[in-house]
């Protein structure tokens, strides 16, 4: 056959015990094929055989019946011939005279007797019909017989006599004891000329004639015969078998029974007196009360039928043998490979994956075997690769956890990146691994680190990729993993001269929620080198990087905040110790610029009367030529565009992280590098004192936290301004009260009202720096206007 099992391994357990009890596929197929072949053949054969046999049997029976009828009519004609002959004997004139003489016992009786005897003998000799002719007298005594020993016998009690007296009579065959044989006797009354019955003429028939009629075998073949049976079932004519003798043989067969009991005619199949199956035709002959039987052995009669049946049978057997042979072949060709496949399958089941089915056929079984082999080999590969993959996965998990463990301890981004790319590359055996971070502008991805020389070179070149471009850019933009399984097949893929062997690449976004921080990019030097499990592992690593990055960020933010708050405290302290507002503010902006690493910091003070903001102090970068100066910039509070005015108006911090994007923002020629700006109002209670404005040469330099910090600083500064102003006010009040006291004393020292008024006007004008002072007296209202006056003076 075409498929052979290679038994491999130790597991070759026979599987037959599982199948015992049910018919195997092979047996079922065999039985089905054989039945399919056998049933029609058997049916056709049997039916045609039956029809054939039936036809031939009927033909044989018909032939037997016609033979029997022929013989019966021969017997009939024999009987009538004998009766006619007996009549003829009576008709002879001389004979009747002699008979008369004998019966009447006339004188010449003895002569007549001799004459009759001679005459009868010659009749018998001539015709051969009778073996004995004899005459009975009215007493039944045989007066003349061709057999002289019979003369003198008395038949008075016998039918031939008393029936013969009445008319023509014929005895059925009866056994004659003294003659020791069956006889058929014909008798006729002998009448005298006057018509008186004077005796009986009787003839004992020569049964040899009957035997001859019966023994003619024409139309009966080799085994056919006809014979006569008496009403007592005794055989009356010779059988073709010598050991069945007349007078001793009784024949009770279906044929004789049917014929004798029902005195009818028919044909049938039955066993004959030898107990041999025959076809028989039987016929009842009423005048002799005998049955005529014609029989032929079935073996001969049905020979042609049997031959036909034999041929049919032979053909059937041949057909069956061929069918069986073909069934065996076909079944074998179907089931052998299947059983072999089953064996192999069982081998495979028991763990032997080395079993292989040899395939030479191209039919379904061949396909099955091929598929089976493919399946086995795939299984083999799968199990092999599964082990590899489990190992890989284990390593990946180990890497992942190692990375994770390290990451949790690394607070430095650069170290983190180097750690990760090298770990990932080595653990997974990648061609190249690199990490990009999104820059502050959120537009570019800056390469943060990569493995090998290529990584170092790219890092040195400050390699960057625009968001949305290339794999890395797309991953960052879409926050989705972008995989290129075969770089040569992907037109969007951008080759890198430093990494010529890259065949597959995957870019995995490093993100927390929707915020993409960067991209982990992995490249492999084989097509399809990166699979889903790689992606899964890398994804998990990317997530951890993201977490680590956040940690770093938040750690940095906390540290920065602490530094900033320290700076705020320092500046506040400085601010609190300088009572001169101008000097204090100059110190503050200076310290602020330095302390927060800003590009510039300045303070505007609010002039309530003019409703405008006037620049008071500027903190330039270290070494700036304008250090220590401040211009004369005045910003009306209502100026729409001004950042400072807005902060003052809204009394809230205002951030512009990219001044170039801000329409209406006016660049300061002294501060060309300003990129972002933060303005914080200086407020105490509800009172606006001014605005602290800080600027950075970096984009996006200010966050809300920065605003909070600066707001805190601003409130400290505001308090310091307030304090300084309050101190100044208190000093002025004290001076004024001293001057008033002095004037009062001087006035009190005058003696006249006029002098007093003159003194007052002069002193007041002096004290108040007025060129002229007019005092008017209105006596009725003086006391009431005194307060008003005081107020006017205070408010001056």
């Amino acid at each position: 056959m075409t498929i052979n099992a290679i038994p491999g391994g130790a597991n070759n357990k026979p599987a037959h015990n599982k199948r015992t009890g049910t018919l195997s596929l092979r047996n079922r197929l065999l039985i089905t094929f054989l039945l399919l072949a056998a049933l029609p053949v058997l049916l056709t054969g049997i039916i045609s055989g039956l029809i054939n046999a039936q036809g031939l049997r009927n033909a044989s029976l018909a032939q037997l019946t016609s033979v029997a009828q022929l013989k019966a009519s021969e017997i009939d004609s024999w009987v009538s011939t004998l009766q006619t002959n007996l009549d003829l004997v009576l008709q002879g004139r001389d004979l009747s005279e002699n008979m008369s003489a004998v019966l009447k016992k006339t004188a010449d009786a003895e002569t007549a007797r001799t004459s009759l005897r001679n005459r009868f003998n010659s009749v018998n000799k001539t015709t051969g019909y009778f073996e004995e002719l004899f005459i009975l007298d009215r007493e039944g005594v045989v007066v003349v017989s061709t057999n002289t020993s019979q003369e003198g016998k008395i038949y008075s009690t016998q039918a031939i006599f008393h029936e013969g007296l009445k008319g023509s009579y014929l005895t059925p065959p009866a056994y004659d004891i003294s003659l020791s044989k069956y006889s058929i006797v014909f008798s006729q009354p002998i009448q005298s000329i006057s018509g008186e019955v004077i005796g009986v003429l009787a003839g004992r028939a020569n049964l040899a004639v009957l035997d001859q009629i019966m023994l003619v075998r024409a139309g009966l073949g080799e085994t056919g015969e006809t014979y006569l049976v008496g009403a007592n079932y005794a055989l009356l004519s010779q059988s073709r078998f010598e050991n069945f003798k007349i007078g001793e043989t009784y024949i009770r067969t279906n044929g004789t029974r049917n014929s004798i009991e029902t005195q009818s005619t028919g044909a049938d199949l039955y066993n004959d007196y030898r107990n041999v199956p025959v076809l028989g035709s039987y016929l009842w002959i009423p005048e002799l009360r005998i049955a005529l039987i014609a029989e032929q052995d079935q073996s001969e009669a049905l020979q042609s039928s049997n031959r036909a049946f034999g041929i049919t049978l032979g053909l059937m057997v041949l057909t069956l043998i061929i069918a069986a042979f073909v069934a065996f072949l076909v079944t074998g060709s179907i089931t052998t490979p299947i059983s072999q496949l089953v064996t192999i399958a069982e081998n495979v089941t028991s763990g032997n994956l080395e079993s292989v089915a040899y395939v030479e056929r191209k039919d379904e079984i061949g396909v099955l075997a091929t598929a089976f082999n493919t399946m086995t080999s795939r299984l083999r590969e799968l199990i092999g690769s599964l082990e590899q993959r489990v190992a890989d996965r284990t390593r990946a998990l180990a890497t992942s956890s190692e990375v994770s463990r390290r990451l949790s301890t690394i607070l430095d981004q650069k170290e983190l990146v180097n750690e990760v790319v090298n770990q990932v590359k080595n653990a997974f055996g990648y061609y190249h691994t690199q990490i990009y971070f999104i820059d502050e502008s959120n537009e570019n991805l800056i390469m943060a680190g990569g493995t090998g020389e290529a990584g170092e070179m790219m890092l040195a070149q400050f390699h960057k990729v625009a968001k949305g471009r290339g794999l890395v850019g797309r991953a960052a933009e879409s926050n989705q993993v972008v995989l290129v399984s075969n770089t040569s097949q992907n037109p969007e893929w951008l080759p890198n001269k430093l990494l010529p062997d890259t065949r597959s690449e995957v870019a995995i976004p490093i993100s927390v929620g929707n915020e993409v921080m960067g991209v982990l990019d992995v490249q492999q030097n084989i097509i399809d080198g990166l699979q889903q499990e790689d992606i899964d592992s890398l994804q998990s690593i990317a997530n951890q990087i993201a977490v680590a990055l956040q940690n770093i960020k938040s750690t940095k933010a906390v540290a920065k905040r602490a530094v900033e708050l320290q700076t705020v405290a320092r500046i506040s302290t400085v601010a609190a110790t300088i009572s001169d507002v101008q000097k204090m503010l100059e110190s503050v902006v200076h310290l602020t610029q330095r302390g927060f690493g800003l590009y510039h910091a300045h303070v505007f003070l609010y002039d309530e009367n003019k409703d405008q903001l006037e620049i008071t102090a500027c903190g330039y970068k270290e070494g700036d030529e304008h250090e220590g100066t401040h211009g004369t910039t005045i910003i009306p509070l209502v100026q729409e565009q001004s950042l400072v005015a807005r902060a003052a108006r809204t009394r809230q911090a205002v951030i512009i992280n990219n001044v170039r994007n801000e329409s209406g923002w006016l660049p300061n020629p002294l501060l060309p590098d300003t990129a972002s700006e933060l303005a914080v109002p200086l407020i105490v209670g509800n009172q606006l004192l001014g605005v602290l404005d800080v600027q950075s040469d970096r984009l996006n330099a200010f966050s809300d936290e920065d605003a909070d910090v600066q707001t805190t600083l601003a409130s400290q500064i505001a308090v310091s301004i307030q304090n300084a102003r309050a101190l100044f006010q208190t000093q002025r009040q004290a001076e004024r009260e001293t001057a008033v006291n002095l004037i009062t004393q001087k006035i009190q020292n005058t003696t006249s009202i006029e002098a007093a008024l003159q003194m007052a006007a002069r002193e007041l004008g002096h004290a108040m720096g007025m060129k002229s002072t007019l005092i008017t007296l209105e006596s009725e209202t003086l006391s009431e206007n005194q307060t008003e006056l005081k107020n006017k003076m205070r408010g001056g």
Binding site: E139, G140, V141, S149, G152, K153, I154, Y155, S156, T157, Q158, A159, H162, T171, P172, P173, A174, Y175, I177, S178, S180, Y182, G230, A231, N232, Y233, A234, G247, E248, Y250, R252, R289
Partner: protein, 327 residues
């Protein structure tokens, strides 16, 4: 290893058989008084008994041997037997004497009686016996066999007075003929002495009484007319079984011969078989059923009895025999 007692059908059959056995009435007991010693003459009775034909008819039949001293008619009328075997003349004589034995079947339809003479004696017809010394059964000439012999002599016109009668003594083969006591012996049977003579290679001539107008039924089966009227069905069953036995015996002489030993183990089977074969032409004549009786023969018998004065007036023969029980 018998898991089951039997299948339901066999149990049912056994049950029915037991039931039938228990419920069926006891078999009808019937005694038959035979006319002579046990021999193949009664082979039909033996066969019916041995092959269970009586049993099939629910009969239990006792076959009682007879002998020279036995009177079967008396036995039946005494009630000792229900059936008997006796010659036709006995029936007529008993009827004439007021008894009512009725012949219900013949056994031999033809007479087996012969006069036997040696071939070289020159005796071949009854006429040849005139002036000779002839053996008879009884010197009184009053046995049925002697009556028939005398009748035959008369039929052929031989004056019995011309013959010297001497009693047979041997009743075996041609033994009597080899003594100087007789020229021929009468009252011998073609089914007995003649058979033996042929076996012995004797060259003897048989003269059949039947050929010379003396045809008697020498062994009729009879019963009481009362039984026929009271239990015809019993008579029917008995005759049916007995004739079936004869029919079988006629067709299977070799097989049934041994049955005779069951009734007299001293018998010689080979001889009994030869006897049966010799009986066949007498039993089964071919022109009528076995057992059938002809009116002619009864008339012939009565005529002879009248002629010899054994009865004074003729009886009604229809009361003496009936073929009603023969199918």
């Amino acid at each position: 290893m018998s898991k089951k007692i039997g299948n339901p059908i066999s149990i049912l059959i056994i049950a029915i058989a037991l039931l039938l056995n228990a419920c069926s009435p006891a078999k009808d007991k019937v005694t038959v008084q035979l006319s002579w010693f046990h021999s193949a003459e009664f082979i039909g009775f033996y066969t019916a008994d041995q092959l269970g034909y009586y049993n099939d008819e629910n009969l239990e039949v006792a076959l009682v041997a007879g002998g020279p001293e036995t009177d079967p008619i008396a036995s039946v009328f005494e009630g000792t037997s229900q059936f008997g075997v006796t010659p036709g003349d006995s029936i007529i004589r008993a009827q004439s004497a007021g008894q009512e034995p009725v012949a219900i079947s013949s056994i031999f339809r033809k007479s087996p009686l012969i006069v036997m003479a040696l071939a070289n004696s020159g005796i071949s017809t009854p006429q040849d016996l005139a002036g000779k010394t002839v053996g008879v059964v009884s010197p009184g000439l009053d046995t049925t066999w002697d009556i028939q012999f005398i009748a035959m002599l008369k039929k052929v016109g031989v004056d019995p007075a011309s013959i010297t009668f001497v009693p047979n003594e041997e009743f075996y083969s041609a033994a009597d003929l080899h003594t100087d006591r007789m020229d021929a012996t009468s009252g011998t049977f073609s089914t007995n002495e003649l058979v033996q003579a042929k076996i012995d290679g004797e060259d003897v001539v048989p003269i059949y009484y039947g050929d010379y107008g003396v045809e008697f039924y020498n062994n009729l089966i009879f019963t009481d007319a009362k039984l026929i009227s009271s239990d015809p069905e019993l008579v029917q069953r008995f005759i049916r079984a007995t004739l079936k036995g004869y029919q079988y015996a006629v067709e299977h002489p070799q097989e049934v011969a041994a049955f005779t030993l069951k009734y007299d183990e001293s018998l010689d089977v080979a001889f009994q078989q030869a006897t049966i074969e010799a009986q066949i032409p007498l039993l089964d004549t071919g022109d009528a059923q076995i057992g059938w009786m002809e009116e002619d023969i009864w008339n012939n018998t009565q005529a002879i009895l009248l002629d010899q004065g054994y009865i004074i007036s003729p009886i009604d023969l229809t009361k003496a025999y009936t073929n009603d029980f023969i199918k």
